[in-house]
């Protein structure tokens, strides 16, 4: 008798626990990162591919370490963009890391390069700076750090493909004026400090014309040596 009562009690408990779990799942948002980053997607695209707004960058496929550094910098206010600073202010490190990994692991196709609005001469100047640099003025080539195919390197160096000229130009401007900074030694600030406004326009325009390479993934850490130290890319 007692055993039977206990058994049926156990069944009831099991059933109600099961019911509870099922009900909870039905009435809850999906337990996924995709649902958790819905606050990001109207500006950055559902898979981080970017949107029609030229100032909002693509996030998809960038190295997770780079994305995580940016999230930390926005959270602390080191990198200034009030809507981002505000959204991230009270989110813990492991969550930001998970967000970075989520967008790093998404691989929507790179967009078709848009026709450029600048002259051939300007594009040629941009190409020269990006691929060879200007040793006389202390400017290294973009490719010397961001990779021969401009796809970036794990864990901290971003690829430069799939970004619109307006975004790259705004970021280079921010590095030049010191409103965007990174961990010391702040390699990008050193480089951007040597650029003129015309250089910035040319490089940003040329980068935006690059087609997608066969393999758009960032190369593994240590694939090539950097020309100088960089706080965002530990050795």
């Amino acid at each position: 008798m007692f055993a039977r009562a206990a058994a049926s009690a156990a069944v009831i408990v099991t059933l109600s626990a099961f019911d509870g779990a099922a009900a909870q799942t039905a009435n809850q948002p999906p337990d996924t990162m995709a649902a958790r980053v819905e606050a990001c997607t109207p500006c950055h695209g559902n898979k981080g591919e970017g949107t029609s707004d030229v100032y909002f960058p693509r996030l998809a496929g960038k190295p997770a370490g780079y994305l995580y550094n940016q999230l930390l910098a926005f959270r602390s206010g080191r990198r200034k963009y009030p809507p981002m600073n505000y959204l991230l202010e009270f989110l813990p490190d492991p969550y930001l890391e998970a967000m970075a990994e989520y967008f790093a692991s998404e691989h929507p196709p790179l967009p078709q390069p848009a026709p450029s609005e600048v002259s051939k001469d300007v594009l040629a100047q941009g190409e020269a700076l990006a691929t060879s640099g200007d040793a006389g003025r202390g400017i290294p080539a973009c490719v010397s750090c961001h990779g021969p195919a401009l796809t970036g390197m794990q864990p901290g160096i971003p690829g430069l493909l799939g970004l619109r000229a307006a975004y790259v130009s705004a970021q280079l401007g921010a590095w030049r004026y010191g409103t965007r900074t990174a961990k010391s030694p702040d390699c990008m600030q050193l480089v951007a400090g040597h650029l003129t406004e015309a250089d910035v326009t040319a490089v940003a325009a040329w980068l935006a014309t690059r087609p997608a390479p066969a393999n758009p993934a960032p190369v593994p850490k240590g694939t090539y040596a950097l020309p100088f130290g960089c706080g965002s890319q530990p050795n």
Binding site: E38, A39, R78, P82, Y86, F90, Y95, A98
Partner: protein, 416 residues
Amino acid sequence: MGSKLSITLLALAALITAAQAQDKTQDKSSDVIARGEYLARAGDCTACHTAAEGRLFAGGRPMPTPFGTIYTSNITPDPETGIGKWSADDFYRTMHNGRFPDGGLIYPAMPFASYTKVTRADSDAIFAYLRSIQAVNQKNKPHELRFPYDNRQLILGWRTLYFREGEFRPDPAKSAEWNRGAYLVEGLGHCSMCHSPINALGGTSQSDAFKGGLIPMQNWYAPSLTNNREAGLGDWSIKDITDLLQTGVSARGVVYGPMAEVVHNSLQYLDDADTRAMAVYLKGIAEASSPPPASSALPNTESSLLISLGKTVYDKNCASCHGTQGEGKPPHWPPLANNQSIEMQSAVNPIRMVLNGGYPPGTKGNPMPYGMPPFAGLLSDNEVAAVVSYIRTAWGNRGTPVSAREANELRSAPLN
């Protein structure tokens, strides 16, 4: 030989006893430090005394006020630039009476009007904890206050009007739990700093405590804690209140804006008993009677046009999370139907949530919160006004419509 051995043993025993005694005092002092750390969390000292990317409690954080910018002070034990030379008496006097050890007056941006309620024992524990942290040599930055507010003597006038010195006195007619909650809410929690109307002199009168008000400079509305049509918790279950305070989300709504900071830095660290005590007290101070619904300033035809556009905007942008009937999927996707935050007379917060979106804070109880996107770049002023008007009046909600102008004005509200 034998006696030598026993003497040695005796000496050893004495040593062990001494060592044990010392262990005990150390235990005791580490207990005090741990309690002090807990209380410093309850007081949310870090919100002001730690700057972004700065060292813990080294100060230097700019606090914009209507009177100019105040820079918070270094409260690490550094003897030159911090509070290393202070005694426990000095610290208690600062907390209790708002004066520096030399008698100088402290600006009431430091919530000493609340901290005055803190007991001597709790003040001593917080001081012991602050003595135990890493000293940081960092000079305090001078305040940048406009004339005439740069004259500290003016604080005397403010104190006469708004400051009542005195430790918390328990109400013997109430339970120990209610009194503990009152002590935390009125004292260390310094909730009245935001949840009371602030007048032009930067003060709050006692009779207006917890009646709600717009937070100066931040342009968020800190709702009344006594009015059930605002953030009064009279109709909430204790569990929903403790969920909100401890995890930042609950079946009734989530925290956002400046309250996200409070949960993130302070409330999530309070133990279950203290959280429950605060919930019991907060539920208790809500007034039973509900004031009549506010009347709309907008003409009827304009309102109905707005509300019908609002439904279109809502169904397209909001319903996928908040539900076609505003039911949400609580606690992560908050309900909008019967949500006091949406319905209250001030529409500042719902407009700002639509414009700025936001994440509830990441807490131990909710480490990966779900977020809402900012719609500032996606919706026009008219659409923002429309959708806010809709959610304030649909599904039995008793709020009033808002105008495109109100939405436009809040586009420039500061975000940090």
